[in-house]
């Protein structure tokens, strides 16, 4: 672990190159429909990673894109698709017809994914739960196993701890050491970061350490747990980052409509991923009117709290 003042700030290209090799287990989309690190996922696709295991609760459109690009050999998630439109066609092609390659699906529920990461974050081999009892998920997911409570006679499910190799967590603001402020719905981001061997923080803003230090209760990911910090404005588009930009609903529908067939997906991914070398180029292609429409129209600032004495 480095000294406290060392900067961990690197480019997205470098962060993916150094910390997300082929074969990795990667947590993405920890905050569900919000703050999905699309920029990171697109860079992973551009760098041609293979045999990734994707971990997330409801993965939304990003997992579909990475599956379509052939980066993925296994998905451990509760839901894979397109929240605005339902189906994810790349996911379906991969599972139903092994296009572009066969993938293994380990079907979880939102709660069992959360508990698998919670167990790893807590440093124990499993978490007990009642969910999935009686379901076919319990029968078919080897990470869920039934047992009897040691303190009473109840039947319970043990959710095996899940330790991703790397978590990519989108946050609103961080300092160069990785001390991160995030707010809004947190999903499994905090346990996910603590469960993972490495943590890449993707921040809308890099701020002075004093800003972060002014509110330690908001520093849900302390810098000494962070491997790398990437400054990537609008890195979550088309998903939302509260306080920064809204969700581009139409973008999800457009992707859905344009990726029904394989060649349509290839056109889409060439246009929005392969042919845009960086997030900046992606935003340029998106165009200012569209990006501008998503920006905050009415600010709603939190009431301050006092850490004085």
């Amino acid at each position: 672990m480095m000294g406290i003042t060392s900067s961990k700030l690197i480019s997205m290209q470098q962060a993916i190159a150094e910390h997300v090799p082929s074969g990795s287990m990667v947590l993405l989309g920890a905050q569900l429909e919000a703050m999905i690190p699309f920029a990171a996922g697109h860079e992973i696709i551009r760098q041609g990673r293979r045999d990734l295991t994707l971990v997330g609760p409801i993965s939304d459109m990003l997992f579909d894109q990475m599956i379509g690009a052939g980066c993925v050999s296994r998905v451990m998630a509760a839901w894979v698709g397109n929240v605005s439109a339902g189906m994810g066609y790349c996911f379906r092609r991969a599972v139903e017809r092994s296009i572009p390659r066969a993938i293994e699906t380990v079907d979880h529920t939102n709660l069992t994914i959360a508990l698998a990461l919670h167990a790893a974050a807590m440093g124990v081999p499993f978490m007990p739960t009642y969910t999935t009892l009686g379901s076919d998920l319990l029968k078919r997911n080897a990470n869920l196993c039934e047992f009897h409570s040691p303190v009473n006679e109840e039947r319970l499910v043990a959710v095996r701890a899940l330790r991703p190799d790397v978590a990519v967590v989108q946050v609103q603001r961080a300092d160069a050491s990785g001390n991160a402020h995030l707010w809004g719905n947190l999903g499994v981001a905090i346990d996910g970061a603590r469960a993972s061997r490495k943590v890449i923080v993707v921040a809308e803003e890099i701020v002075a350490p004093e800003v972060i230090a002014s509110d330690p209760n908001r520093t849900l990911i302390p810098g000494f747990l962070v491997t790398a910090v990437v400054h990537e404005p609008c890195g979550a588009h088309p998903s939302s980052v509260i306080g920064y930009y809204g969700r581009d609903h139409a973008f999800f529908h457009e992707y859905h409509d344009q990726t029904r067939e394989l060649d349509g997906f290839e056109r889409w991914s060439n246009r929005w991923i392969a042919e845009v070398p960086s997030r900046a180029a992606y935003l340029q292609q998106l165009g200012e009117p569209r990006a501008g429409n998503l920006r905050v129209r009415e600010h709603a600032f939190s009431a301050p709290v006092d850490f004085g004495f």
């Binding site: 605005s84 339902g86 709660l111």
Partner: protein, 263 residues
């Protein structure tokens, strides 16, 4: 298009979706904790809040809890309007733990398939005998396993109301009475209603679904011929009450372009 229904009392025009929304709203009692979900149930939650259940609290698995409706209609539960002025924003476990504690009174779900015992499938479908991979559980299995009452909304066709689901994503009454207890699921949990485009199904002592009410203008024969098993019919079969003006006003305000509630 709007399938207006003429009824004796009122001549108000409303869609099947309107009817389903209001039927869903009636499943929410004042002061209850509700796992809301999106689309029609989201609207139903707001209708309930604005009419008979002002004290209801909405829970969302992304980590949000609200005791006031969002200021705008939501496309996803994580949209900024659902976070602004929420009662709580935190992590998924903080909400799911209330569900697992048994505090959540009612949870709303959709499904690709529901069977005669209220089991749900959202993992595998089929078209022309070809398997179709569906998105999966999300939080559906958790809600069906742990909430006191589960309410399902779906289109009423033989393809979707089947005798036996091909895959139990979310457990209902399994194979009948006593099954849930045998599996170790909480005593106070299980399917309460299935609200379809044709009527409302409820569950008997034997754990099997029966037709409790038909929507106005729908015949029992229509319902039976569109159900994938021999559906039992309640002796005191009712007609699903029509939406009143107050409820319709809320729906129109939330969905002015009838994006969700057109048909």
């Amino acid at each position: 298009m709007t399938t207006g229904v003429q009824s004796g009392a009122t001549a108000s025009r409303f869609s099947r979706s309107d009817l389903m929304v209001v039927a869903a709203a009636r499943e929410i009692h004042d002061g209850e904790m509700v796992f809301v979900g999106m689309r029609l149930p989201m609207i139903a939650f707001v209708v309930a809040k604005r009419t008979h259940a002002p004290g209801a609290v909405g829970l969302f698995e992304n980590g949000v809890m609200r005791d006031t409706p969002a200021s705008e209609l939501l496309y996803t539960m994580s949209d900024p309007p659902n976070l602004l002025k929420a009662s709580y924003c935190g992590d998924m476990l903080s909400v799911m733990s209330l569900l697992q504690q048994g505090r959540v009174n009612v949870g709303f779900l959709g499904a690709a398939e529901v069977d005669r015992f209220g089991n749900l499938n959202t993992t595998w479908g089929s078209r022309d005998a070809q398997p179709i991979r569906l998105p999966g559980s999300g939080g559906a299995c958790d809600i069906a396993s742990l909430s006191q009452r589960t309410v399902v909304l779906l289109e009423h066709t033989r393809q979707r109301l089947v005798s036996r689901v091909g895959h139990i994503t979310s457990p209902g009454n399994g194979t009948g009475n006593g099954w849930r207890r045998g599996q170790g699921l909480p005593l106070r949990s299980g399917p309460s209603a299935v609200i379809t485009t044709m009527g409302v199904l409820r569950f008997g002592e034997d754990g099997e679904a029966y037709l409790a009410s038909v929507h106005p203008g729908v015949s029992v024969e229509d319902v039976l011929s569109n159900t994938g098993w021999t559906l039992k019919v309640a002796e005191d079969l009712a007609v699903t009450p029509e939406p009143d003006a107050a409820a319709l006003a809320v729906i129109r305000e939330l969905d002015p372009n009838r994006f969700w509630t057109k048909s």
